[in-house]
Subunit: 326 residues, 2 copies
């Protein structure tokens, strides 16, 4: 059981706001911050709920703290923005102790340093189960902001990195049967790396018409930037970038090789659309940042979103991604 | 059980952002808003967790939704600021159904209208128990912002309205024994009214040195603006403003008449300190807004915070307020 007063003391000790943009940090009714007068303020919130988003035995308090921050930061990155501040709400169950609290705070600090944020406020509560809700505030120049809604028919669909690793990493963790190849997959699940530099670079150079981070599964997130806008898409399943670790391990957990790559969420890769004439510039950025960027298909003028095999036949996908309520 | 997709559809239907300051509302990775270039951005977050902050049988979905917004708005008001936007995270348990969802959304809409806010984002999740976390963003001119930290020895301590009603209302609700006098007490608990106009007026006229909304109990919140700053306070228990309804009912639930007034939280009244020479101006505002403002004591140069009876003898208070983890 965690004592609220000592938890608050620990937070105040560990998070001392120093930057000039924080007029008033933790400890008052609200935080007061300075936002760049010519930029838009970005705001997003995301939560991690015990047994829904994580299983306490499979992730350390430190990793859970960092990941809670990373997933919200990823949303700001997918707009082409820069994250600046965060607020954290934690509902502690009776099971958490002082050691857990300190680990979680260390995780928040890691997130703070890695993503150049400042913790400006939050809220602690008791709860039957553990939950963490992180709100991240950021900034973006309005003329470069990338929305989910700008794709046009004919645009090329790109995906950074590889997908399916995180979902497969979770399966490995749950099975308890790790082998020497699995640290990569597990780390993709436990310590996701939002593609902040890539999102920012693509936005600044105005190379993309829409962008989203793959948090709920490739197909579901692809539908958000195409289908929900009344557009369709065709992607080629064999072009979907998977890692060698994924390739080695997928058949231990699934009969369809691409199932988790298509539907498993939490890779936090960037999925984006670009006009065809920007191909060379997208490749340049891939080289510049040493991030693999793969062309996986293109936007069509009408629904649906279709996944094709190498012969151009449509593959029926059953699991379209992570729906939280099922 | 609530279906996530239909929940999202309902939210998009009900909350269509229209104001010019919202560049991008619900439905993208993050919301994008315009903040006044010369003002500070205020940010606060507060949560309502089942069985900790509310009991589902004792509050309707609509009231719960409105209250979740009201308590965060109150924090912005206590800084002298104006609330503008909010984000909502809800963790739905298996017990909630479509009717509950619609009631909750109606409650958020009531909060939106009453407090002149716009919903700009949020997050839905499954959860073992119901929880709601509301982040409110607002604005304040930096030269009038009121912090918790500005009280000086000799300042007068004021309290708006009456205290103890909400905590007593909760006891009435829990007992199941309502009588004709209780709608007031119950409504103080279920539908708190943050003192936004008062907070703003006091800040604009620069009449206060520190201010806080009474959410966790009078003594605990008084310690936050005095004791935590290294100052003390003396308040007179007989001056503490209580309502006639409280007076009539308190002995049905407590042996000490002032216990709940001193320690029961959630009245969302404003507790503030002002220099002695501002007394007349504070009274003027009380008349102007028709809000009772009571002088309950004064700030002293050193700890502790003392509660005195009419003969000047110190009263030992046991329950100093609502500590969430006990």
């Amino acid at each position: 059981m965690i004592d609220e007063l000592s938890a608050l003391r620990l937070i105040k000790e560990r998070f001392k706001n120093v930057s000039e943009s924080v007029s008033l940090g933790i400890g008052d009714d609200a935080a007061a911050i300075k936002i760049h007068p010519e930029k838009l303020l970005l705001a997003t919130t995301d939560s991690q709920v015990e047994d829904i988003h994580f299983i306490k035995e499979l992730i350390s308090a430190k990793d859970l703290g960092r990941k809670s921050v990373a997933v919200s930061v990823s949303d700001i990155g997918a707009m082409g923005g820069v994250s600046k501040f965060f607020l954290v709400t934690v509902g502690f169950s009776k099971e958490e102790d002082q050691e857990f609290l300190e680990g979680l705070m260390t995780g928040f600090q890691l997130g703070e340093e890695e993503f150049e944020l400042e913790l400006i406020g939050g809220n602690l509560s008791a709860s039957r189960e553990l939950f963490i809700d992180v709100t991240v505030l950021g900034e973006v120049e309005s003329h470069i902001m990338v929305k989910r809604t700008g794709a046009r028919a004919g645009d090329v669909i790109y995906l950074s990195g590889t997908v399916g690793d995180s979902a497969l990493g979770l399966k490995v963790l749950k099975s308890g049967k790790k082998n020497e190849k699995d640290p990569f997959l597990i780390s993709r699940h436990i310590s996701p790396q939002p593609r902040l530099a890539l999102g920012r670079e693509l936005a600044e150079r105005k190379l993309v018409t829409s962008m989203i981070d793959v948090s709920d599964g490739l197909i579901l997130d692809l539908e958000r930037i195409t289908g929900e806008q009344g557009l369709g898409a065709e992607i080629n399943v064999e072009k979907i970038p998977i890692s060698p670790y994924y390739k080695d391990r997928i058949f231990d957990f699934a009969s369809e090789p691409y199932e988790l790559a298509l539907s498993g969420g939490e890779d936090y890769e960037l999925l984006f659309t670009s006009p065809k004439e920007k191909t060379r510039e997208v490749e340049e950025i891939s080289d510049l940042l040493s991030i693999k960027i793969t062309e996986i298909g293109y936007v069509t003028s009408k629904l649906p979103v279709r996944v094709l095999d190498s012969d151009g036949r449509e593959i029926k996908t059953h699991k379209r991604g992570f729906i939280h309520f099922r």
